[in-house]
């Protein structure tokens, strides 16, 4: 039989606090950990799901004091034998432990590989697995909260509930078709439609929330636009001084554009083409403007910068016209200098939100956060009551399920007979099943017998 090899990677980001976990999974996880672990017991003899205190040794040298947990398959996260080394000695020490582990012939895990194994070993359903991948990649807390919810299964749970209802209704129709002398359908179509309508709007809302989910998850692609010398680089510096986006150092999950992801409260802003914008502050104005313009196309959000200490110029207006169709926030860079009236007038004339902002004092920062939250999340960020759909796959399945249910309602309206309903009902059932990674199998037939008394 083909054996998977043993893999390892940090299970938590290498945080400056210095506490971190290294996870090792695979057939040789335990034996190999033993080679560098020195404690009261050998891990090979330890019971599953136990934690052991000891030291990580590089030859005679103590590298770190650690706790090691041992979890044997199939009841581990990946379904394989797993050890987890809880390190305490800081980033450098953790890196050292990691390189020791790799030196034993254990391969660095690819991004998401633990989860992939968990999925392949039947430990997670598809929806849970996708959501774990998001936890790994989540950039900000809101995304993290959302992923946790997804993981715990409130999304899975709701989808299961909807599927269950669809299956029951289909089973009723099918029971009646199979045994017409026992079950009457009567005016069933109207009743069914009444039941389906709220489900359809729920599914639609869930799929609409994909955009929001994706903005939380991937960050809002933001372009800072403004004529040269309005203070773009000081804004950039200000934003960069804010808390950094949490980016895990698990190999491969690191973003190419690391320095351009900044956090503003619970929001992640993904600053695009910053290099280009920076250069506009250099002397070669033309190039800078062109680059800024190119970045506009890709942006979800435009932060349009004006310097309130200088009067409005032709360039400002021209530039504004080029971006006004997008989601724009006008930022008036406040300075201690006098406030120009034409700027004030301009601010009143535009129909996008305006925020007076000081990169020096940070004044206006909270307002900016509120404005952005309002623009993209209808005022409330993930967490509260709702959760978001954050994978393209889920979104498409939700759309196709709600489309199928709309077809059912269409058939009811067109006066079609009940047997036509079940075709589309089962399509919706199948789509939703794909979100959970579940096949249809004998579900319908089993349900008919479970819910309805059939037969001669």
């Amino acid at each position: 039989m083909f054996e998977l090899d043993t893999i390892a990677a940090p299970a938590t980001p290498l945080s400056p606090a210095g506490i971190g976990i290294i996870r090792i999974s695979g057939p040789e996880a335990v034996i190999n950990t033993d080679k560098i672990f020195c404690g009261k017991v050998t891990l090979a003899e330890a019971k599953t799901h136990t934690i052991h205190y000891g030291k990580i040794m590089d030859g005679d040298e103590i590298v770190d004091e650690v706790l090691v947990s041992v979890m044997r398959g199939p009841h581990s996260y990946t379904g394989e034998d797993v050890t987890e080394i809880n390190c305490h000695g800081g980033v450098l020490v953790m890196k050292k432990v990691l390189s020791l582990v790799y030196s034993l012939g254990i391969r660095p895990a690819e991004p998401g590989e633990f989860t992939k194994r968990a999925f392949l070993n039947g430990r997670l359903d598809l929806s849970q697995a996708a959501s774990v991948m998001e936890v790994i990649e989540a950039d900000s807390e809101a995304a993290l909260k959302n992923s946790m919810k997804h993981l715990k299964g409130s999304f899975s749970h709701e989808i299961k509930g909807i599927r269950d209802m669809i299956l029951h209704e289909t089973a009723y129709i099918e029971a009646a078709l199979d045994d017409p002398e026992h079950y009457e359908l009567g005016t069933y179509g109207d009743k069914l439609k009444e039941k389906l309508q709220p489900v359809i709007s729920r599914l639609q809302n869930l799929s609409l929330s994909y955009r929001e989910g994706s903005l939380i998850h991937n960050g809002i692609r933001t372009a800072i636009v403004g004529r040269p010398n309005v203070g773009k680089s000081s804004l950039l510096n200000f934003l960069s001084r804010q808390e950094r986006a949490i980016v895990s150092n698990i190999p491969g999950t690191t973003r190419d554009t690391l320095e351009e992801s900044v956090r503003l409260g619970d929001l992640t802003l993904h600053l695009i083409d910053t290099a280009g914008i920076r250069r506009t502050d250099d002397t070669i104005e033309k190039i800078g403007v062109d680059r800024a313009l190119a970045s506009i196309d890709e942006a979800d959000l435009i932060l349009f910068l004006l310097d309130s200490s200088r009067s409005l110029s032709e360039d400002d207006i021209k530039l504004y016209h080029q971006v006004q169709d997008k989601q724009v926030v006008l930022l008036c860079n406040k300075s201690d200098l006098e406030f120009h009236r034409d700027i004030e007038e301009f601010c009143r004339s535009v129909n996008c939100p305006v925020v007076y902002f000081s990169t020096k004092t940070g004044e206006g920062k909270d307002e900016l956060m509120d404005v952005i939250t309002n623009l993209f999340f209808h005022g409330a960020l993930a967490g509260a009551e709702d959760f978001y759909v954050s994978s393209e796959r889920d979104k498409l399945e939700l759309e196709s399920a709600s489309h199928s249910l709309e077809l059912v309602c269409g058939s009811v309206d067109a006066g079609m007979t009940e047997d036509f309903f079940s075709i589309d009902l089962m399509d919706a059932y199948t789509s939703l099943g794909r979100i959970l990674g579940e096949a249809v199998d004998e579900d319908l037939v089993n349900r008919i017998f479970a819910d309805f008394c059939m037969g001669k």
């Binding site: 199979d178 045994d179 079609m416 990674g437 199998d441 319908l444 059939m454 001669k456």
Partner: protein, 634 residues
């Protein structure tokens, strides 16, 4: 002692619904065929319900007919009442059901068998399969006679090691007091065949003279009788029909059953076999659906030469005395005399995962099987499998490609695919919900779908094939013509629309559009379509359906395309599932056992998850497999 030794090409064991179709197919395809039965008096015998067809089963009968089988013709000759079910629903679920005169049905079938060239009938119990090197070469009977044959078709129904039970009584015989076949099971086991033990049951037969029909609701047949066979002239079968009756159980009935539950062999744990959920005993219904205060019962005639009535919905394995007591609580049956009591029957059948889609054994060349022996239940399910098994046994002997129907070809394809890819936990019955593409697989177009297959294997003659082809062309031509017809919004049009409660069309409308309205149809609109050719009903019906449901039909055709794509993704026969990394153990075992021929079949195996399928796909696409193949060859 001298023993008989004869040689045939195809040997059929069993003369039930499966055996009859198998033997007829083989003999009609020109092979020297012999069929065995435990009793010549039970040819095409119906040991349970006295009707043929019904929801989805009616589809099977039509498909059997289109392929050149006998069941539809035989019931057209011997029915007592005919009814098209679900006529208020869409055309996909219309289904024909006929009450049969059981004895006549059996006698007519025997006549057909006896008049078929190349076919020998023999009353003898087959006790042993003759197999060498995974290849069958004949059978032996209990008398020691040897019959050589290139192919054998097993259709032993409910007879293998059969035992009948009611109360604490166990009788070691087959249905209806007929002899059981007690030897063949051992021979199957000796040859590595995996057996299951299933059970089913039948209600009492009651003397019609002791029934008070005034307390029941009479159920009539349809005024216009539609034949089962596409070859039967409707005019030839219009005749007076016999009625059925509807009555109900009540709380008293249920109370008696509950009081004596421990006397039922099922609830007492005596029965070992697994019973079907779709024809539960009355005991099961009362226990499982305890909130239902009453259950429907249909009282159906067994035939014209007996006054026995079959009590549909009240099968049981309670002791005789309890049966008498509970039947007497039912309105109309207060003074009923039971002629034959209800009983449950247990029998050996096979795990059908051992079969290919051609219904041949994967491990024993030349051995085919059909019917209840394969784990199904029902006359129609048996007959269609017998037909396919018989055809493929004959094709095998001739050295030709097997006939395999898939899920998009017909209900028969669905049934066989289910049987061979899904491990059965109970006797399998056809249901309309099992068919994904039922809008395309209607009973009304079975001839258009399957006659070409029947023709290919030689069971449909030139004339009938040409007729179906011509019919298809006339349908296509007429649809094309209708699509060009425009109906103007004159008074004549408005009057006609009003007559059918349909909204008027001031500026006219296309005929196609009007046909799509639920309250209208192709026929109803004839007066607005003066250039319409004179077409027979079967053609008009197809035109109507195909125009009316065009959108839905197109959607299902798309689904079929998708299905075919996965179905065409072949899995090489030599694949070693132990080499496929990351397959879950359960999936690996299932795949190794069933050895699906393509990804579609693999996806329908219970226990193979979508994740396993991706793993398998990745493996097949990765080229790792090919690499191995090359090494293997060099």
């Amino acid at each position: 002692m001298s023993v008989l030794d004869e040689t045939y090409q195809v040997i059929v064991v069993g003369a039930g619904h499966a055996g009859c179709e198998a033997a007829l197919a083989s003999a009609r395809m020109g092979l020297k065929t012999i069929m065995f039965t435990v009793s010549m008096d039970s040819v095409a015998f119906m040991p349970c319900n006295p009707h043929i067809g019904g929801s989805s089963k009616g589809h099977l009968v039509r498909e059997i007919d289109a392929l050149g089988g006998e069941m539809a013709k035989n019931i057209d000759k011997t029915f007592l009442q005919s009814k098209m079910l679900n006529v208020s629903k869409g055309p996909a679920v219309h289904s024909l059901r006929c009450q049969a005169d059981k004895l006549q049905y059996s006698l007519e079938m025997r006549k057909v068998l006896q008049h078929t060239d190349n076919l020998t009938l023999r009353q003898a119990e087959v006790s042993e399969l003759l197999i060498e090197d995974h290849k069958i070469f004949g059978v032996k009977t209990v008398s020691g006679a040897t019959y050589h044959g290139d192919a054998v078709v097993l259709c032993t129904g409910t007879y293998l090691k059969a035992r009948c039970l009611y109360g604490d009584v166990i009788e070691y015989n087959g249905p209806n007091g007929l002899k059981a076949a007690n030897h063949l099971s051992q021979s199957l086991l000796d040859n590595g065949v995996e057996l299951f033990r299933f059970k089913t049951g039948t209600p009492a037969r009651i003397d019609g003279n002791t029934i008070d029909y005034s307390k029941m609701t009479e159920q009539f047949g349809d005024a216009n009788i539609v034949p089962f066979s596409f070859t039967t002239d409707p005019k030839s079968i219009q005749k007076p029909q016999v009625s059925c009756y509807l009555t109900y159980t009540n709380e008293k009935t249920h109370q008696i059953i509950m009081d004596h539950l421990d006397e039922s062999p099922i609830y007492a744990g005596v029965i070992e076999g697994t019973g079907p959920r779709y024809c539960p005993s009355l005991e099961d219904k009362v226990v499982k659906f305890s909130d239902k205060k009453r259950h429907q019962l249909f009282v159906e005639p067994e035939g014209l030469s007996t006054n026995e009535m079959y009590i549909s919905g009240a099968s049981s394995s309670m002791p005789e005395a309890v049966q008498h007591a509970f039947y007497h609580t039912i309105p109309g049956l207060e003074h009923a005399q039971i002629v034959r009591n209800a009983y449950a029957i247990e029998y050996d059948c096979i795990n059908s995962e051992q079969l290919t889609h051609a219904l041949g054994f994967k491990e024993i060349r030349g051995l085919y099987s059909g019917g209840q022996f394969n784990g199904s239940s029902g006359y129609e399910e048996a007959a269609c499998q017998g037909l396919i098994a018989g055809i493929n046994a004959a094709l095998y002997v001739k050295g030709e490609e097997p006939l395999v129907l898939n899920r998009a070809d017909g209900y028969i394809g669905v049934l066989i695919d289910d049987l061979v890819t899904k491990e059965l936990t109970e006797p399998y019955r056809m249901m309309t919900s099992r068919s994904e593409y039922r809008l395309l697989l209607r009973q009304d177009n079975a001839d258009l779908r399957l006659t070409p297959y029947g023709y290919r294997v030689g069971l449909i003659d030139e004339e009938r094939y040409a007729f179906v082809q011509k019919k298809q062309k006339m349908i296509d031509d007429e649809i094309a013509r209708v699509k060009k017809v425009f109906v103007s919004g004159n008074d004549h049009t408005q009057d006609l629309l009003r007559a059918f409660d349909s909204i008027g069309v001031n500026s006219g409308a296309s005929l196609e559009e009007l046909i799509r309205r639920p309250e209208l149809s192709y026929d109803k609109l004839a007066p607005l379509d003066p250039n319409r050719p004179n077409l027979e009903e079967g053609i008009r019906e197809q035109v109507d359906i195909q125009i009316k449901y065009e959108g839905y039909i197109a959607r299902q055709k798309k689904q079929v395309e998708h299905f075919q794509k996965i179905e065409n993704k072949r899995i090489p026969a030599s694949i070693d599932y132990d080499d496929v990394p990351s397959l879950r153990i359960e999936a690996r075992q299932k795949l190794k056992k069933i050895r699906p021929e393509n990804m579609g079949q693999a996806s329908r195996i219970l226990g193979v998850s979508p994740a396993d399928l991706s793993v398998l796909l990745v493996y097949l696409d990765s080229g790792k497999y090919l690499h191995k193949e090359e090494k293997f060859e060099s």
